[in-house]
């Protein structure tokens, strides 16, 4: 029995992929009166940062066959996109196959469709309320929590899911920060205006050389940019492209794996060497680790995890988070024609005049300074995950009351295995849960759809199981 037979109320803050898919599972599986409040500050639900892009050239970095929202129906997205293509015709320039990298904005439509269908299929007493507003504070109490919205209204919920996702990058550290107030500087790479008002012949500097940088580079190309694209990052490493490979058999067991990062890396390197000699691709070796990455991470002592972040992360990122072959081809051509120039180093200073800004870069491992003159600088360093740095009222509120705390590595929030958040004293919350990117400290591998969809399903089951809340 639910208390007083009133419907249980679950508020989900954040209507990106994570929040929407939790809502979909709740809608489909609830067998008792349930009121789901999905709170999203953006004008559209289901898209979030990743699938809210307006550019058709922004492709998924995971092939269609692996992007289903449902772990137990792996072809769900593929079927949806193939059916849509048939009925709408010009959805995609080519026929969608399992290995196609579909535009991200189409994936956003898919997430919306999943949510709509789940809502339509839900029992009469299971309802979804879409609240287009911003949550700014949460006050948990003995019976649930009160959520305040930026328009001053409040709402009650028995359980709350924080599906806040990806936070914007922070401005790169530099002594004189005054350039960061210039209109030539864009601090948020996914701003709808990051690339407006750029003369096609102007030189541009992108800070960071990961997937976010590639997004900006191909979008510049799409809008006909002909000027130089400078890229600066500490190592100057770009993500590798995907390639279809023969799967590599599992070579490491969780129990048998070393618990020290140096030995682990050595072991993987040797395996890659052997695999290549036997005609495999290195990608297949890394992919064979995916099913156990979270466990390998969890059994590393904290100091070893730190060591990984310090020394291995950058190499892991470019090998593991690969880019679609289509995008890789465009970028290879830009590099070949020298329209794109990659600088390994650190920005030392900005010197702006009426026409442009001179950016001084100290080259890696040297004292040499190189100056590039550009019309715009865009921070494309990728998402920030240190919750201590966020000025967002909701995070401030939760932190100042001690309802949440960062994980020991400060790359996400401290969570228990079921996604319940830990408070400042380490007490597991009965009310607040999270999934997706904030679970990074615990799981490491948690930011992409293949992981989040599992978490969304399990979290929904957990919330439905513990329905006798009082």
């Amino acid at each position: 029995m639910t208390k007083n037979n009133l419907p249980i109320s679950i508020a989900i803050i954040g209507g990106g992929f994570s929040g929407s898919i939790v809502a979909a599972h709740l809608l489909i599986n609830a067998t008792f009166p349930l009121n789901i409040k999905l709170i999203e500050r953006r004008p559209t639900f289901g898209r979030g940062v990743a699938y809210g892009t307006k550019y058709g050239c922004h492709l998924l970095n995971v092939p269609a066959a692996k992007m289903s929202a449902f772990p137990d129906d792996p072809e769900h997205f593929l079927r949806w996109v193939q059916k849509e293509e048939q009925s709408r015709g010009n959805l995609m320039p080519s026929v969608v196959k399992p290995d196609t990298f579909v535009p991200r904005k189409i994936y956003g439509e898919y997430v919306q469709a999943v949510l709509d269908e789940a809502e339509a299929a839900a029992k009469e007493n299971v309802q979804l309320e879409r609240i287009k507003n911003e949550a700014v504070s949460i006050s948990p109490d003995a019976n649930g929590a009160t959520v305040s919205l930026s328009t001053g209204q409040t709402l009650r919920a028995d359980k709350i899911v924080l599906a806040l996702g990806n936070f914007p990058p922070t401005d790169p550290a530099i002594q004189d920060k005054s350039f960061y107030t210039s209109l030539r500087y864009v601090s948020y790479p996914w701003s709808p205006h990051a690339l407006s008002d750029i003369d096609p012949n102007d030189a541009v500097l992108l800070i960071g050389s990961g997937l976010t940088m590639l997004d900006l580079a191909v979008a510049l190309k799409e809008q006909g940019h002909a000027g130089a694209i400078h890229v600066v990052s500490r190592h100057g490493l770009l993500p590798y492209p995907h390639k279809f490979t023969t799967p590599y058999p599992a070579f490491l067991s969780v129990e048998g794996a070393p618990k020290a990062i140096r030995s682990l890396v050595r072991l993987v390197r040797e395996e890659v060497k052997n695999a290549i000699a036997r005609g495999y691709d290195w990608r297949a070796v890394l992919d064979s680790l995916r099913p156990i990455t979270q466990q390998l991470w969890q059994q590393l002592p904290l100091e070893e995890q730190r060591r990984f972040l310090r020394h291995v992360r950058i190499y892991w990122e470019v090998h593991r988070h690969r880019v679609s072959p289509g995008v890789a081809d465009i970028v290879a051509e830009m590099l070949h024609s020298e329209q794109m120039v990659v600088h390994a180093g650190r920005i030392q200073a900005y010197d702006e005049d009426d026409e442009a800004v001179d950016v001084a870069i100290r080259k890696r491992h040297t004292t040499d300074i190189e100056v590039v003159r550009v019309a715009r600088v865009i921070n494309s360093t990728g998402t920030e995950c240190d919750y201590r740095k966020f000025g967002h009222p909701l995070i401030q509120n939760l932190r100042s009351h001690g309802f949440i705390r960062s994980d020991a590595l400060a790359i996400g929030l401290d969570v228990s295995p079921n996604g319940a958040l830990l408070d400042v004293d380490g007490v597991v919350s009965q009310i607040l849960y999270t999934l997706g990117p904030p679970r990074q400290g615990r799981l490491w591998e948690t930011t992409a759809v293949p992981e989040i969809r599992v978490q969304a399903q399990e979290l929904a089951q957990e919330l439905l199981r513990s329905r006798n809340y009082s």
Binding site: R41, R42, P43, V49, E134, V136, S150, T151, G152, Q153, T154, F167, P168, S178, T181, S182, L183, R184, S187, Y188, W190, S191, P192, H193, S196, D197, G391, H392, P393, L394, Q396
Partner: protein
């Protein structure tokens, strides 16, 4: 339409002179909009007033004359104002960078001058160069509901000495005195 924000237009000096040409009682919202729309947004003085605070949006007085106040507000994602009116002053806000959410409220239950229930009447998202305008006695709220930092330029004519703040839950209306120093 794309606005070239780097083109120099009305300097602050020009703006002050233009404002002096119109008698305060004759100034209307359209005139104020036209002038604010022409201001140079890359102005060095303006840039010096951009500063962000973790606690709430940062409000810096850029210039005060007998005719108007000009302020620069810097907002982290999620920061927002109270629901308020400007006690008779005209207000035009221009977005310098980021996306501004501007909400106009309407009174749906006026119990007395100090107890009025309000609700959102309209909401719009404004981007670089665009204006949010609030006529004398309109009730509004501004917020940064986007993922990126926001910087806005605000002109109030006449200069503000107080505003009325509306509580959406209790309906209570409070007059709040405003005081700025240049350091604020």
């Amino acid at each position: 339409m794309s606005v070239n924000l780097l083109t120099k237009r009305l300097t602050l000096d020009d703006f002050i002179l233009e404002m002096m040409r119109i008698a305060p009682q004759d100034l209307n919202l359209e005139q104020l909009q036209d002038l604010v729309a022409q201001l140079d947004l890359n102005d060095t003085l303006l840039r010096q007033h951009i500063t962000f605070s973790d606690k709430t949006y940062a409000r810096k007085l850029l210039c005060r004359t007998s005719r108007f106040d000009m302020l620069v507000l810097s907002w982290h994602p999620g920061q927002f104002t109270t629901i308020h009116d400007h006690a008779g002053a005209l207000n035009v806000t221009r977005v310098r960078s980021g996306t501004l959410t501007a909400r106009l409220f309407e009174v749906y239950d006026k119990r007395s001058s100090t107890e009025q229930l309000v609700r959102v009447g309209s909401e719009e998202q404004l981007v670089r160069g665009e204006l949010a305008s609030v006529d004398r006695d309109r009730i509004h709220q501004l917020a940064n509901t986007s993922d990126e930092k926001l910087v806005t330029l605000h002109v109030y004519a006449h200069p503000l000495s107080s505003i009325n703040v509306y509580c959406p839950n209790s309906g209570q209306v409070d007059r709040v005195a405003l005081q700025y120093t240049l350091e604020q």
